[in-house]
């Protein structure tokens, strides 16, 4: 009996071994990357948040909660921090209330294959298809030099470079962020919309539903799970969103343009070992704020959102 069991096990392994090897070879690298670059790094960051660096001995030592106190003091004393928080809020709100609805609208338009869908698709997908560095560089030069020159030559309008201007730089960058976000979002919305059964749309037509009603009662519930994911993951993005400032200005963005994400990213880029614990503590504090909000938003979306059944 035992011999039969062992034999069966051997047969099973022999049969399944190629599948197991294949499976392990595919997931091994991503799992390893996850363990090193997510678990390991975050674990190290948490430890670092409670440490202090000594330049003379090149070593870290336990520093209790002092880094967290320093972060709070820095937030209180840094004059442009309220402005950075405001910009992060504006960028988030723009994404939620302007970019998302517009993305849905464009997706529905493309889904219904209305007039000009092809060219609209290319324009919206272009920032996603090209390297982000190319897109940012082209936009920078267009907004700062080409557009003002064109307006002056054709319409005799004298406007400053939009990226360099104290007044126009923020709206210009916000526009860029909205426009460049469409591609990836629309792709996912379209995928969800295309997942809806044609019979639903036919039934809606038969019932005399207008385009708007079709969208609200057939398309939107279909897309809602994807939307929820974007809204929930966007909470964490609130603290890390740089508004492409680093791509546009490098380390030299003016303070009034700062977001929390750019402040942190720039700080870490310029950081020396003595600065790492400070930013580790800052990241941990932001995580503590983001986690409960994320769970709350997820709960509310699941509780009150439409069902696609």
């Amino acid at each position: 009996m035992i011999g039969n069991g062992v034999n069966n096990k051997r047969k099973f392994l022999k049969k399944e071994l190629p599948h197991i090897v294949f499976y392990v070879s595919i997931v091994a690298l991503p799992v390893l990357q996850f363990l090193i670059f997510y678990v390991g790094i975050n674990f190290n960051s948490i430890i670092l948040a409670f440490q202090k660096y000594d330049i003379y001995s090149d070593s870290y030592s336990f520093h209790r909660f002092n880094n967290f106190i320093d972060v709070v003091e820095e937030f209180k004393k840094t004059v442009y921090m309220p402005s950075a928080l405001k910009n992060s809020l504006i960028s988030y709100a723009l994404g939620l209330f302007i970019a998302m609805p517009l993305g849905l609208f464009f997706s529905f338009y493309l889904h219904k294959k209305m007039m000009g869908s092809g060219i609209i698709k290319v324009i919206l997908f272009l920032p996603t298809m090209l390297s982000s560095l190319i897109v940012v560089t082209v936009f920078r030069y267009f907004a700062d030099r080409a557009l003002p020159e064109m307006l002056e030559d054709f319409f005799h309008l004298n406007i400053p470079g939009l990226i360099s201007s104290r007044i126009y730089s923020l709206p210009t960058i916000l526009f860029f962020c909205v426009w460049s976000s469409f591609g990836a979002n629309i792709l996912l919305y379209l995928g969800a919309m295309n997942g809806a059964s044609e019979s639903l749309y036919e039934a809606a037509k038969i019932d005399g539903a207008s385009v708007l009603q079709e969208f609200l009662h057939v398309t939107f519930p279909q897309v809602y799970p994807t939307l929820s994911v974007f809204i929930v993951t966007g909470i964490g993005g609130f603290f890390t969103n740089q508004m492409s400032l680093y791509s546009i200005y490098g380390e030299n963005a003016e303070f009034k343009l700062y977001t929390l994400g750019y402040y942190m990213y720039r700080g870490i880029k310029l950081a020396k070992p003595a600065d790492y614990p400070h930013f580790a503590a800052m990241g941990l504090m932001m995580t503590c704020v983001a986690i409960p909000i994320t769970y709350l938003v997820r709960y509310l979306l699941n509780r009150f959102g439409p069902s696609n059944e």
Partner: protein
């Protein structure tokens, strides 16, 4: 068939994923040069854009190879090949895994990585004499470097490399053609043979003859330029730090060496504005407890006023200079070619490396190609900037040059694992700091090294016009090197880098750079008031 295809595709994807891992660790780079495997290879990283690598390829590197011709350092190998690795900002945290042994860098975080043991201890090298010389390399160093470089444990881990000074670089030919020099008997010269004024140093027959002494004279010069159809200034809006460096230079010239040095030394006297209504200056002793007072430094206020005047008249500057997309190369190209396009520009705000940088990116070559022989043999100079508002204020004040390059030469500590490389690297670095090599470096790059050495008349005459003016200016000046043995500076260097010296808050809005505020209506006085820091903002020395 399908199964084989899937397996094959998975294998390809897996292999492609593994290529990501190959980027980990150090990598060899031969810079396009053929590696001679019969020789011992010494990898050297050098060539910040303005300096280039020719000084190694055709200079010290070639002579060093000749020194080891026929000498076997390793079994099976005879001679040495010095291979130049194109410059990039090294990954200092990963130095131990790269093949490069000797580095000549800019913006080197010396304190951080010397403390971490990434740089080799070269104390024995620094305290020794080079071949054919009777003085040690250490004796060629400024006292500031001797104190600063040995702050950790009395040992040296790097040597100062080249100096970067910022100023207004001017077109000498343009200045001569348009008589833009002050005359000895007042007013401006009317011909090239007229005797020029003594200039900021107060002495005739020196390199700054005819240059403006006071701020008013400087801007009177600008008015004369504008009247003759010349745009006085151009600068790169993208490299906004250039204006900050110019302002640092003006502030240092105004306050003097000890005054300016307090920005990173915190152990001496500084001129501080103590009354914001009358702008009265007082001399205050700065230490670890009151470093915040440096936000009220009088020289910084003068620098802001200078910038305010620079941009007060749109005719003073090239219109694209305010654009953050206007690069330093754009500005250099425009400056060099402007006189051939009937839109001459008198001065460019740049670093002392600019001529080499423009050469390296082909600006002069393109200019000759497009504009013809008239574009050959251009002459440019470096202006000795004004030091005050009146002749009385300027009298007796030496010129101060601020070296913000933070440029050092160092050896990778990983050579400790290879005795041949260890000895070879040390010998090469020592070789680079002989007088012969220092002079050769200056002749080939027309720039100055941050150590003490001299040039004979013949060697001086081999420099370009710009190189000669730079050499002369340095000889007439005292240099403020941005290095310090202060505990405050070591604890938090980032706070004291020059980028942050002119940040301000005006009517609730924070500014990183004065140009943004001043170019949109804020006054220099209001900006300076907004720079003020208090004891609450100062966390050191408590």
């Amino acid at each position: 068939m399908r199964k084989n295809f899937v397996v094959g595709l998975a294998a390809v994807i897996g292999a492609m994923s593994c290529t990501g891992l190959s980027a980990c660790g150090g990598n060899r780079f031969d810079g396009g040069e053929q590696i001679d495997k019969t020789k011992t290879t010494l990898y050297v990283e050098a060539g910040a854009t303005g300096v280039g690598t020719s000084w190694i390829d055709n200079g010290v590197g070639r002579r060093f190879e000749e020194k080891y011709e026929g000498v076997s350092l390793e079994p099976g190998k005879t001679g040495v090949q010095v291979v130049v690795v194109p410059a990039s900002t090294p990954n200092y945290d990963n130095l131990s895994s790269v093949d490069t042994s000797v580095f000549f860098g800019e913006g080197v975080p010396y304190f951080t990585y010397a403390a971490k043991g990434a740089f080799l201890d070269i104390t024995d090298l620094v305290k020794s004499t080079a071949e054919g010389e009777s003085v040690t390399i250490e004796s060629k160093l400024d006292q500031v470097h001797k104190d600063g470089l040995t702050v950790f444990d009395g040992k040296y881990y790097a040597l100062p490399h080249f100096e970067i000074f910022f100023s207004a670089m001017y077109d000498v030919d343009l200045f001569e053609d348009y008589n833009l020099y002050y005359a000895a008997n007042g007013g401006f010269v009317t011909s090239k043979t007229d005797k020029r004024s003594a200039g900021p140093d107060g002495e005739f027959e020196t390199g700054d003859d005819g240059m403006p002494v006071t701020y008013d004279e400087f801007f009177d010069l600008c008015d004369v330029m504008v009247a003759q159809g010349i745009t006085p200034f151009i600068w790169s809006g993208e490299a906004y730090g250039y204006l900050i460096k110019l302002m640092s230079q003006i502030a240092a010239n105004y306050g003097g060496l000890e005054d300016w040095s307090q920005n990173f030394k915190f152990n001496g006297a500084a001129k501080i504005i103590t009354d914001y209504e009358t702008m009265k200056e007082d001399t205050v002793m700065i230490d670890s407890s009151n470093g915040y007072l440096l936000s009220q430094q009088a020289g910084k206020y003068q620098a802001l006023r200078f910038l305010e005047r620079m941009i007060s008249n749109p005719d003073y500057y090239y219109v694209d200079s305010l654009l953050t997309t206007y690069s330093n190369v754009d500005a250099q190209e425009q400056f060099v070619n402007s006189k051939f396009e009937n839109a001459p520009i008198g001065m460019i705000i740049e670093g002392s490396f600019w001529e080499g940088e423009a050469q390296a990116v082909g600006i002069f070559e393109r200019s000759i190609r497009d504009k013809g022989e008239q574009a050959r043999n251009r002459r440019f100079g470096i202006m000795s900037l004004p030091r005050g508002n009146s002749y009385e204020e300027c009298q007796g004040k030496p010129s101060v040059l601020t070296d913000i390059g933070v440029s050092y030469a160092y050896i990778n500590a990983n050579v400790k694992n290879n005795e041949v490389l260890l000895n070879l690297s040390k010998d090469f670095l020592k070789f680079c700091y002989t007088d012969v090599s220092l002079k050769e470096w200056t002749k080939m790059t027309s720039q100055t090294k941050a150590v003490n050495y001299s040039l004979t008349t013949d060697e001086y005459n081999e420099l370009t016009e710009f190189g000669q003016q730079l050499w002369d200016l340095k000889k007439r000046s005292v240099v403020a090197y941005e290095i310090s043995d202060s505990d405050i500076y070591l604890a938090d260097q980032n706070i004291f880098i020059f980028y942050e010296r002119f940040t301000s808050v005006v009517k609730g809005e924070s500014f990183r750079t004065p140009i943004t505020a001043l170019s949109t209506g804020t006054s220099a006085k209001d900006y300076f008031k907004g720079m003020r820091k208090t004891e609450n903002d100062w966390k050191w020395g408590k």
